[in-house]
Each structure stands twice: as C-alpha cells, then as structure tokens.
Amino acid sequence: MAGCVGGDSSNDVFPFPVVVSQLENGLKIVSVEYDSPGVVAYYTVVRTGSRNEVEPGFSGYAHFFEHLMFRGTKKYPTAAYNKLIKQMGADSNAFTTNDWTAYHIVASSDSLETIVDIESDRFQNLEYSEDLFRTEAGAILGEYNLNFSNPVALLQETLHGRAFMFHPYKHTTLGLLADIENMPNQYDYSLQFYDRYYRPNNCVIVVVGDVDSSQLSNLVEQYYGDWEPNNFEPVIPVEPPQTRERKSSVTWPNPTLPFLMLGYHVPAFSDQTIDMPALDVLSQLLFSETSPLFQKLYLEEQVVDLLSGGAGDSRDGPLFTIIARVTDPDRLEYVRDAIIAEINRMKVERVDPSVLADTKSHMRYRFSMGLDNPGDIARTLSHYLQLTGDPETVNRVYRLYDAVSPEDIEYVATTYFAETNRTVVDLTMEKNDG
C-alpha cells in the first residue's frame, strides 16, 4: 500500500511530498523525490537505542550493534561488503542515540539496487563469529577512551547516572565502562539483541534524492519481503518522579575550566501536546545568543565561554540539560544561581510576544535552511519517523511551535523547573596536593 503526504499545504514546514508504503511484514518505506541528480541517500532506521538496554550489565548494546552490523554475512562477508561500498564510492556510516540507531549510505542513484541488496542482506542475515565479536568490543573500548578525554563525557555520565534511578536513560549511549569491558564475554546476548530488534516491524527505510518511489517499493518488496517480524516489546522501567534535588561534584585530572551541568526531567516527545514544543521554545528564550542570560553571563560579565540548554526529542521523558563552562573557578556558584534565577523569572514574567515571534521565526528558518541535500533531508525525516513512525509528525510539531503562547511558556517553566526535579553536577580541575 502506498500514500502521499505533506508538501501540499502552505503551513507545512517540510516542503517536499513524502511517499509512504508498507510491506506485509511491517517494514515501512518512506521516500522523497528530491532534485539531486545522480545522488540518493538511503537510511535504515532501527527504532532501538540505549533506551532498550533494560537488563543490568548490558548497557551499550544498541551502539555495539552499530559496529557489528559492518561485520558481514554469508553472502557478503565484511571484505565483500566493504569492497562493494568502495566500488560505489559511497559514504556509509551509522550512529546510535538513546532511542534509535541509523544506518546511512549516500551514493550514486545508479547503485540503488546494490544498496537495497546489501542492506537487506545484513539486516536479515548478519553473521559474525565470536572472535570477530570480541575484536569489535576492543573498538568500543577505544571509542569510550577517546570520548573520555573530554570532560563533557564524564559530566553527562554523572548527570544521567544521578538523575535516573531506573530508566535506561541512566546510562549514556556508549554504555558503562564495566559493561563495555565485559562485552567480549557476551556473544550470546548479542545474538539475542539482534533477534529481538533487527526486525522489519521495528525498522523504516527512508530514501531521499534521485529516486523513483514506485521502483523503490518494488525493490524493497523483492529484497526485504521474506524478513520475519518479531513482536518483542521490552519492558522499559518507568522513572518515578524525582522528589528532591540531587547533586554531584567530579574532578578532572588535566587542565580545564570548570563546568556546570543541570538536568530537569521533562516529558516525552509528542506531536499532540504543547509541552515539548513549548520547552523547545523556552530553551531558545533562555539560552540563545539573544537571550538576556546569554547577554549577561557570556557577553557582559564574560563569566562563561559556553552556555546552552535544551531537551532533545525523546520517546521517554528525557532531561532538559543545561551546560556552562565557567571562566573563573570561583564563580561556579554564581553562574548556577544566575541560571536558576533566570528560569524562575520565566515562571512569573510573561514573555514579550515580539520576542516569542522572533524565536519561532528563527526555528522555522533554521529548519528550512538545513534541508539542502539528500542526506540531511533523510536524517531529518528519519528523526521524526523514529519518534512516531509517521512522517507527518514533522509538520504537526512545527504547527505546535507556531501555536506556543506566552502562557504555555509560563506553564512549562512552572511545571518542570522545580528544585526537587533538578540534578546538578559540577566538574573542577583536580587539585594536586603533592
């Protein structure tokens, strides 16, 4: 079955018609015919991320699979897969988030059938030996090591570890170090993970560029049609409301300026309610380069050289995270208090309608200017598809942004920014007493 949505209303922020079809096994195919002669972007969206890592001791497997998926099949062992990618001159990679994993290829549109062939093969027939599995675990440790030369990785790990008691958002996408170190011993678990989540009813194929949508549907039917669905549903622990403020301090063994990170629990993404859109607008009002707080801390007093905040779209309630790098170690508390004071001001002072209008205009132009090549368009669409499975979500959520009122801002500021809902982590340079 196929249908065409979007691109037909002047209010739609997504300017291109989207064609959607679905196989009987549940695999959804979404395509956009875009004016990029000879180029096509091919995304496979797996609606599984670190959110699905519910068993203790097994954090990091969604991301680990991002690596394992390049380890070959009977038909196309690693070397053969890599050779085909090389022959196509393709840009092929993958990434993992809390909620989803994306496998993406940008290549010549002449190669479309080859792409469908090799991608369908590894999603249905991945085969890796225990030795290869253990080797790849070494690369994960390497990735952890390189990330942890940056203090922000430590801050994030600490903040999430403190703010979440039960929900898998407690650990970062990379996973906990102890679990990563134990990965080489968990070959069987990895097979189970693949069996649970790499299924057609948990995936979406998104293709943008020089593509004929009906030809694409036929190819996908031909290559993915026999893929068996699996209705496994993980039981994801529900995080109870936080009832008191949590705080942590960590140190860094190398030269650094101090950092401050604050997190507030906020609701899951929805294209039906105003809460998350209003929180996104609020993040601009609080932390954009034109915000009063930025003016004060960054431009006038110059007590921070980094200040940002916001919450990503998430399938379960994420943290609205604020980060500041403080230029003077003695001003950490001052900066924290100034941030909290500004949030509190938003609870009682209604935002100027012209400032709100400028913010909405900024968000719409920013979105529109980002849609200038097949890869970015596919990624944008994939982001909304992993959240709801519906490409129309992108237009719905931007209509909600347009509808955010000063009262909505006041409402979300009051509802979600209580002291009891806050976790604060600071990072300072380790003192060398010796």
Partner: protein, 510 residues
C-alpha cells in the same frame, strides 16, 4: 570604481564535470578575477565565503594569535553600526549566521542567510568585514576564548587535537607554520586592540580578497556585492613572502606530551613537497586513500589495526592538512596551504599497546612504500575516489569552498581535477609517486600519554612490544605481528623531548 569594473571581466561561465552528480540542475557558475559565484535559483539559501590571503604566518613575532583574534573580531564581533549584541538580535529571527575560519595562510569570513533576508544581511555582512566595531568588550571576550582554547580545551579536554597540534608544531619548528592557528598563550597575552586594528588595515584590503557566493541570489547580486565590498575596502598590496622549507627530520623524532590520559594518542608525519597544484598529488591521493582513507573501512591501516586487531577506534592517513567538517567524513574547505605534510592519525590506544601501535603504523607505511599498490588495489581505489569525491560537494556551500581553493592552487576545484585526472592515472604513476614522496625513515611522532618516561624508555631500548589482545586474532595476524613487535625504530635521542602538558603552546620553540 573603474578599476573594479575592469577587473570584473567574466573569466567564464563554466559547466563542470561533476554537475551531473548531486546538484541542482540549474546551477550556473560565474568566475571573475576576484570572485566565484554559483547561482542556484531554486535554492532558498545564500552562502557567502569571503577569503583574505592572510593567516597565522602573518602574525608578528611574539604576537601569535593576532590573525585569529582579528578574524574573530569580525566573525564574533560588532560592526560600525551595530554592536555584537544588536547584530545577533537582528540575525536571530532570520537564523542568519556569520563566523570566521582562520588557518596558516587564508582567513575566511563565512555567512549564510535565507534569501528572504538577503539584502539586509549582505549590507551588514559587508560592513562587518570592512568596518568591524573593534569594541573592547568583544576584544577581551575573543582573546579569552582563544586563550581558553589553548589552556583548557587543547591541554585538557581533547587529547586527539592536542596530538595533532603537537605534531604540527614539531614538524614546523622555526618555520612560519609552527604556531597553532589560534596562537600561543604568551602571544595572546600581549595583544592589544591597537594591534588588531593595525592588522585589519594591513591585510583586509582590495588586493587580498576573494569573494565567494553560492545559492539562490538574484541575477545581478554578486556584481553589486563585490562592487560595494571593493569600494569599502582600502587599497593595498598583496604580499606573499616565500616560505622557507621546513627543517629536515633525522630518523624518528619524538615529542611526548605527558598528562593524565585514559589512553595514548599518536600522530606521525613528515613534510611533503606536493600540493593540489602538482600532478603527483593526484597519484598520491589514490595511494593515501588505499592506505588510510579518513573514517572508512577502505584504508589498510583501519582494516589492519582496528579491523583485525581491535587496537582502537580508528587509524587513518592524510596527504594534506585535514580538518573534518562537522560530523561528516569530509574535510572543511578554505584552509589551503603552500606546503603540506603527510600524516598518520592513530586514535587513542590502550597504553600497554601504544608502542606496538606506533610500530605497526610505521611497518604498514614501510610496506606501502616498498611494494606499492597492486593493479586491483589501484583500480578499485581510483574508481572509489572518482565517485566518492563527488560527495564532497553535496551542498552549494561546499562546492563554493572547493572552487575557491582551486584559485589558491591555480587549479580547478579539487573535485573537477579528480574527475579529469584520475581516469588518466596508471598504476605506475601511483607507485612512482609513492617512491618519490613517501618514506618511513625520517618521521616526526607526537605522543600524548601518561607516564611519558616509561614510554620513552621503551622507545629508546627498542625492546619488543608484543600486543595484549582481549580477543583471539587469526594465525595470519599473529604471524604479521612477529614482523612488528621488534621492528627497530631509529629514534633520535638528541631530538627526543618530553613536554609537560602545561607547557604546550605557551610560546614558540625559538
């Protein structure tokens, strides 16, 4: 005014060989002596890249960082009419952006705006370049930002970048390229606002500029913009001092940066006398892609070090200075240089395998130099590059950047050169170019690690460094390892140095 119009003779309305791949079909390219314009009437965005032939090599002695700070006073400062704060407020509802990119020889002011606001934006953008505000507050903020970039970010927050900058300084000791692009700690400390004003007047002038504009602008827009820019810039004389050759290396010269680190970062390199202006560059492009294509599993290093052994996250090589563009795998544009270096980047390796990893990278380089590519390796890699390079220019902004870089080197856009030159290459061209320009005897090595003394001791003793694998590796790999674990590294003891991280980039070596 007259002079400007004389110069604005169209050099050509070009179709380009790669237009059929990935770009709006209505793209038209117009070049003048001082501009590159790429009109895409269907695009809602207009991108600006205004490049000046000035870089960190123009920093006065002991004032390292002046070029970077001057660029930031434009990219992160106010204009004569608007304060930085007012500018940001004006740009914000349009989601328009201005930034500055600085390197050794070229500095580029970058802007982007939706065509709905093109005229208002371009007036302000032009004023920013020609009449920066030079506000004291902007000056202090930007200088501190550069200084923090050295004292906090480079020294303590990013070991990989620290390793690469260490290699750069080490390769170019006493050379104009030595200082990091963002300056040195001491250099930045002594800079004054007057220094910045003088530097701007001296280098941001009519004869030093190349204007690049791409996207959905109206037909006559570029002519108007360039005319206004030229009228607002002072006259000047383009100065391009000749560059001395970098010091030659003698054996394996090692700098070890000592700091707390969870793993060891390694960069290896040596200067090469090849740039995009040379025929051999294109032959070496194939060799380098085969050996270490950035962040792909095409490269030999990646397959042997990560793929077969799980030593680390990635291992790549480069034929020219490389900065990754955002989260993509492609390089940023507009950082052309007259002198380049070949380098190998080994991403952090567990300390206990660092000595082995260094040896392996050099052994693999030796293998490349001694035996070259096979016919299959050659043809597969060449065909890969012919297709892959087209993906470098998926946006108008990137296409523009490459076209401007072509001006620096006196060539067409790199992608167009690849399309023309690579099909004509032979295996012999590639293997002969390897012999002419690559080698494995005289290398600079930058290592960022904990317990540097112990690492140095192992290096100097040349003791065997058997790797510790958490995994079982194949017999074939173990056999290869036998040729690596005791491979002698001819480390030059007199030039070996261990640096505490706190001293890195405080000032130049001499």
């Amino acid at each position: 005014m007259d002079r400007f119009f004389v110069r604005f003779i169209l050099l050509g309305v070009l179709g380009c060989s790669s237009c059929a791949f990935g770009t709006d079909q209505s793209l038209s390219v117009v070049n003048s002596e001082t501009s590159v314009a790429m009109r895409m009437p269907n695009s809602p965005v207009v991108n600006f890249r205004v490049s000046f032939r000035v870089g960190s090599i123009n920093d006065p002695q002991e004032k390292n960082g002046l070029n970077a700070l001057t660029a930031l006073m434009i990219g992160q400062g106010g204009s004569d009419t608007f304060s930085f704060e007012e500018l940001r407020k004006t740009f914000y509802p349009w989601s328009a952006a201005v930034s500055a990119q600085f390197d050794k020889e070229v500095t580029t002011i970058i802007g982007s705006v939706h065509r709905d606001h093109l005229n208002e934006f371009s007036e302000i953008f032009l004023e920013l370049i020609t009449e920066p505000r030079f506000d004291v507050s902007d000056f202090e903020r930007n200088r501190d930002s550069l200084k923090n970039g050295i004292t906090a970010t480079l020294r303590g927050n990013n070991d990989e970048e620290l390793g690469k900058q260490t290699l750069n300084g080490f390769l170019y000791r006493g050379h104009p390229y030595e200082a990091p692009e963002l300056g040195t700690e001491k250099g930045l400390e002594v800079l004054t606002l007057e220094d910045v004003k003088r530097f701007h007047l001296q280098h941001y002038h009519q004869d030093n500029v190349l204007v690049g504009i791409a996207g959905g602008y109206p037909q006559d827009f570029v002519i108007r913009f360039e005319e206004n820019l030229q009228n607002a810039l002072p006259a000047g004389v383009a100065l391009t001092d000749s560059l001395p050759a970098p010091d030659s290396l003698s054996g394996v010269e090692v700098t070890v940066v000592n700091k707390q680190a969870i793993a060891t970062a390694i960069s290896i390199g040596f200067p090469i006398d090849v740039t995009r202006a040379d025929d051999d560059f294109y032959a070496l492009l194939v060799a380098n892609s085969y050996f270490g294509e950035h962040r792909t599993f095409n490269g030999l290093l990646m397959n042997k070090m990560r793929g077969d052994r799980g030593l680390n996250y990635g291992d790549y090589s480069y034929l020219e200075h490389f900065i990754q563009s955002g989260g993509s795998r492609f390089p940023v544009t507009n950082i052309p240089r007259r002198q380049q270096y070949f380098s190998i980047w080994i991403r952090p390796v567990p300390h206990h395998n660092a000595h082995f990893a260094l040896r392996q990278a050099i052994v693999e380089l030796k293998q490349l130099v001694d035996t070259g590519l096979t016919e299959d390796d050659f043809s597969l890699t060449r065909d890969f590059l012919i297709n892959y390079s087209k993906l470098y220019v998926q946006t108008a902004d990137r296409r523009l950047g490459y076209a401007m870089d072509g001006r620096f080197y006196g060539t067409n856009s790199l992608i167009d050169e690849i399309q023309v030159r690579l099909p004509l290459l032979t295996l012999d061209d590639v293997n002969n170019a390897i012999k002419r320009h690559l080698q494995y005897d005289d290398l600079a090595v930058a290592v960022v690690t904990t317990n540097a003394d112990s690492f140095v001791e192992k290096l100097l003793s040349n003791e065997p460094s058997p790797p510790t694998y958490n995994v079982s590796v194949s017999e074939e790999v173990l056999l290869e390892d036998q040729g690596i674990v005791s491979f002698p590294l001819n480390v030059d003891v007199d030039r070996l140095q261990v640096m505490p991280v706190e001293e890195m980039f405080r000032e130049l070596s001499r």
